[in-house]
């Protein structure tokens, strides 16, 4: 029998009972207390640019149609017919003015409103037996967008998305607003891994410590020059609002007036993109990169949306090209996760940059990515071990960066340009930040 209070007590002091990575009772609590009310990413507006465009996305077992209606408004609708519960859309993407249920032909407009049903008069006696007015596919209880990212929450009283994102919105811009044009998403690649969904989310929230070893092979082959331990430990780890992430410390820029451009060039952004990046970012955002020299890399927005920004070498001539990926850890069960991995690129970027960046993404992340391959090997193996009985005797130490009495080993960075708290060097600050939010959700009542 699960003693949740004991589990959460351990987690809050940075000692994680290993079974939480393969425990059906924990998974049920996550479903009922966390995913039932958290803001969860479902799609980006660039995936449905035109009226009638739709994608179908899940939040655990619930299938949602994310559609742009005829007036251009984005709608998120539960994909279940009001009559007998059939899925009204069984494709994962496309363009449609209406969704017609295959069972009895109840038909809905792409804004969710019921447009018609057969034999309304004969079968129901018309409006008296079944009033069509106001009938619509169930909308997501709450919906919000930020930088084109579409989120939903199962809680109709959820805080406004902008309130939820809080200080993390500052960091989101580095991935999803590199120019006023915003980003476009491609993909996603989708695949299932026999790993618990939390492991990837925690990893991206702050695990700079794994990079030098797990990803040693990409340094060996000269694909990416940064992950050497000597460089990785110079990066800042930040925790801000519902997110946390890692950065790389770039070499000092020469001239303070050209520092931002120098740092962006160093990671491979072409001169053609730099003015728009400069314009899109605030003084503080520019200062993070230009003055502090911290370039955002991996991050996680609680609960299950992660980001990565790396800059590998994409050809034999030594050309460096940056890429951005968004990835979602979609829980299937306590032991299985569907990964959705998108390539994201500034919509206004030159086509040749988009090609280079896409190539950089494919070589590093996604199902064939040379970083991601080794990450997933670790996560599958952890999940496998966490399912046994010995794992119930083991608490995993996630206290890196804390003294024995729970104080930070060193003070936060005093001059860090971004909001939140940041530490330089290795430490599991971001993972504990994520786990604290996880604990808060699981400690709450089911809605």
């Amino acid at each position: 029998m699960l003693d949740l209070a004991s589990v959460l007590g351990d987690v809050r002091r940075g000692m994680i009972p290993a079974h939480v990575y393969a425990d059906p009772e924990i998974f049920a609590a996550e479903r009922d207390r966390l995913f039932a009310r958290s803001w969860v990413f479902v799609a980006h507006e660039s995936e449905i640019p035109d009226p009638g465009d739709y994608v179908v996305r899940r939040v655990l077992a619930d299938s949602f149609i994310v559609a742009r209606d005829e007036t251009g408004v984005v709608r998120v609708m539960f994909n279940m017919c009001l009559h007998r519960g059939m899925q009204v859309c069984r494709a994962e993407m496309g363009n449609a003015s209406h969704f017609r249920c295959p069972y009895h032909a109840w038909t809905y407009r792409n804004d969710g409103r019921l447009a018609g049903l057969p034999f309304h008069e004969e079968a129901y006696g018309g409006e008296d037996g079944f009033a069509r007015a106001g009938q619509a596919l169930l909308p997501a209880p709450s919906m919000g967008t930020h930088n084109g990212l579409i989120f939903i929450s199962g809680d109709s009283d959820a805080p406004a998305l902008s309130d939820y994102l809080g200080d993390f919105a500052f960091y989101l811009d580095f991935y999803t607003r590199q120019s006023p044009a915003g980003v476009e998403l491609r993909g996603p690649q989708r695949w299932r891994i026999k790993a618990n969904w939390k492991i990837g989310a925690e990893n991206f929230a702050g695990d700079s410590y794994h990079t030098p070893h797990t990803h040693a092979s990409v340094v060996d082959i000269g694909l990416f020059r940064e992950p050497k331990a000597s460089k990785r430990k110079e990066g800042a780890l930040y925790q801000a609002g519902p997110g946390a992430g890692t950065t790389y410390k770039l070499p000092p820029a020469g001239n303070e007036h050209s520092a931002l451009a120098d740092q962006l060039r160093y990671v491979g952004y072409p001169d053609a993109m730099i003015p728009a990046m400069t314009e899109a970012w605030s003084d503080r955002q520019r200062a993070l990169v230009a003055e502090s020299g911290f370039m955002p890399s991996a991050a996680t927005l609680f609960p299950n949306l992660s980001f990565v920004h790396n800059w590998p070498q994409v050809d034999a001539d030594g050309t460096v090209a940056p890429f951005v990926s968004l990835r979602q850890w979609q829980p299937v069960s306590e032991r299985e996760t569907e990964v959705l991995s998108w390539f994201a690129v500034d919509a206004a970027a030159p086509e040749d940059f988009k090609r280079r960046s896409y190539k950089a993404y494919l070589m590093c992340f996604g199902i064939s990515g040379m970083f991601e391959q080794d990450d997933v090997e670790n996560w599958v193996s952890i999940t496998d071990m966490a399912a046994g009985s010995m794992a119930r005797r083991l608490t995993l130490n996630s206290r890196m960066g804390l003294t024995s009495d729970g104080k930070p080993l060193k003070p936060p960075l005093a001059t860090f340009a971004g909001p939140g708290v940041a530490y330089q060097g290795f430490g599991e600050y971001g993972q504990r930040h994520w786990l604290a939010m996880w604990s808060d959700c699981l400690a709450g009542d089911a809605p």
Binding site: A91, R186, P188, R190, W191, A216, S217, L362, S368, M370
Partner: protein
């Protein structure tokens, strides 16, 4: 896709193409990736589009701008170099793979051969994990060179929209 009629099975060009695919599969199953690279043309395009579930009549069922692979020779060489390091953890211990190649049809395509095949990749890792299967169709472009046939292009059409294998640290 392919136009025209396939070569008769007794045609020497078909036999050579079929043998090429079988020999290639043997190199991959033996993890002789350096040998495998030797079968590729320097200008190879090695592509595996993301397959998607769309309505009948939607006129597409894979993504034009996103693949699981979209490789040139530089990228394939890097992948092979990586597997040869001491730090490619996901393939150490290595997977046991078997590339089953069947339904081979060969077409003349100007000076080259266009070869369609069905591929079933069985992959087993460790002693507790379920094995994975990847089913795909392939369309290859084989070019005659002084050293024999070489692979100039491959398009892999995978039969799942959500792959059930932990990664693609393998070639198809």
């Amino acid at each position: 896709m392919t136009v025209g009629r396939p070569l008769p099975y007794g045609d020497p060009a078909h036999l050579a193409a079929h043998q090429f695919l079988v020999e290639e599969a043997a190199l991959l199953d033996a993890a002789d990736y350096a040998g495998w690279l030797g079968l590729l043309c320097e200008d190879i395009s090695y592509v595996m589009p993301v397959r998607v579930t769309t309505a009948r009549g939607a006129d597409f069922d894979s993504l034009a701008d996103m693949g699981h692979f979209d490789e040139d020779m530089y990228a394939l060489r890097k992948r092979v170099q990586r597997l040869a390091t001491d730090h490619a953890w996901t393939e150490d211990p290595p997977s046991r793979t078997r590339h089953f190649v069947t339904n081979v049809r060969t077409f003349r395509d100007e000076g080259d051969l266009r070869v369609e095949s069905a591929l079933l990749l069985f992959r087993s890792r460790g002693d507790t994990r379920e094995a994975s299967l990847i089913s795909a169709g392939r369309t290859d472009l084989l070019r005659a060179t002084p050293d024999g046939l070489r692979l100039a292009g491959r398009t892999i059409i995978v039969d799942e929209s959500v792959l059930r294998t932990q990664n693609l640290a393998v070639f198809l």
